[in-house]
Amino acid sequence: MKSYKNMLEKQQKKITINKELCKGCELCVFYCPKKCLKLADEFNSAGHHPVILIKPEDCIYCGVCYIMCPDYVFSIIQTNKK
């Protein structure tokens, strides 16, 4: 487990959340295998509670949030560190 995490850190994965598109449906929260997503207390400009990454260190970049999101909120990029 530890070496996998090290590998991920070396690969410098990045996850971005477009809060303005989120409608607070919680499909990502429900399916995240590491339970690192939650709805924020604040609102976005559309009046929804957008999703936030509460434990970024636990994220394994599996992409399930991207797969389930109906609103195009998540992007996950991998850039290899040399």
Partner: protein, 243 residues
């Protein structure tokens, strides 16, 4: 590994409800179009229903069609442009109510088109009325006491209905209520587009889609309703494969 939005998708706010399956399905179609490298050859036909604005969400040519008529419009396009990839995107009212004649006959002629049929067991856009695919005992705006065989008939199983026609080549029913089902839907859609690219004939993917407001549930509850209730009437899987 990358999870980036496909070029064929406009990454813009859309008008679908929170948790609605349409957003997922639009993305999957866009991913397939990108992966098959057919964006510049694809022409989509939007329905009348929740997805009426689909042309605002995809980055390829899309046309409107009168309610229920997309298969006829698709026929008119594909016959004069046989090398383009033509698909219709229809809901349960569009396809299985008003459009029954058009879907049956375009399937019967084995038009070389792909139909994406989004089944959410009610008429979302107009407020949640009964659809031909509404389940027995399901309460909707026009079945306030629950769908009753005596007055309202039975839910229509579109894939099974079309499977009897010799002209249909590939029919599969999937869902988008879990990551596994979403991935399965994507491979079904890809298979259906490949069926068209390889000139094999009529293909249709029926996708059970969650409709939280129409079912009076939260988005997460609606995921479970697909598994616990819908699939009993609409079993998932390949209904026909003649390829």
């Amino acid at each position: 590994m990358k999870f980036l939005y496909p070029e064929s998708l406009k990454q813009t706010r859309h008008l679908y409800c929170a948790g609605c399956g349409h957003g997922i399905i639009h993305r999957i179609i866009a991913e397939v179009v990108d992966e098959l490298n057919i964006r510049e050859k694809t022409i989509g036909i939007a329905p009348v229903g929740c997805a009426v604005f689909a042309y605002d969400y995809w980055n390829f040519d899309v046309t409107e069609a009168p309610h229920g008529r997309p298969p006829a419009v698709a026929t008119g396009i594909k016959r004069v442009l046989p090398d383009r990839i033509v698909f219709t995107y229809q809901g349960d009212g569009d396809l299985s109510a008003i459009g029954t004649a058009e879907i049956i006959h375009s399937a019967n002629r084995s038009e070389n088109i792909t139909v994406i049929f989004v089944n959410n067991a009610n008429y979302g856009m107009t407020g949640g009325q009964m659809a031909p695919t509404t389940l027995l005992k399901q309460k909707t705006l026009t079945t306030p006491f629950g769908r009753d065989i005596k007055y309202d008939g039975y839910p229509i199983k579109v894939c099974e209905l079309l499977s009897v026609l010799d002209g249909t080549v590939y029919l599969e029913r999937t869902a988008v209520n879990s990551p596994k089902n979403v991935m399965r839907t994507k491979s079904a859609i890809k298979k259906a587009f490949l069926c068209q690219i390889e000139n094999k004939g009529f293909s249709l993917v029926e996708i059970l889609s969650q409709c939280p407001p129409g079912w009076n549930m939260t988005p997460v509850e609606s995921l479970k309703w697909v598994d616990e209730v819908m699939i009993n009437t609409f079993p998932l899987g390949v209904i026909k494969e003649k390829i």
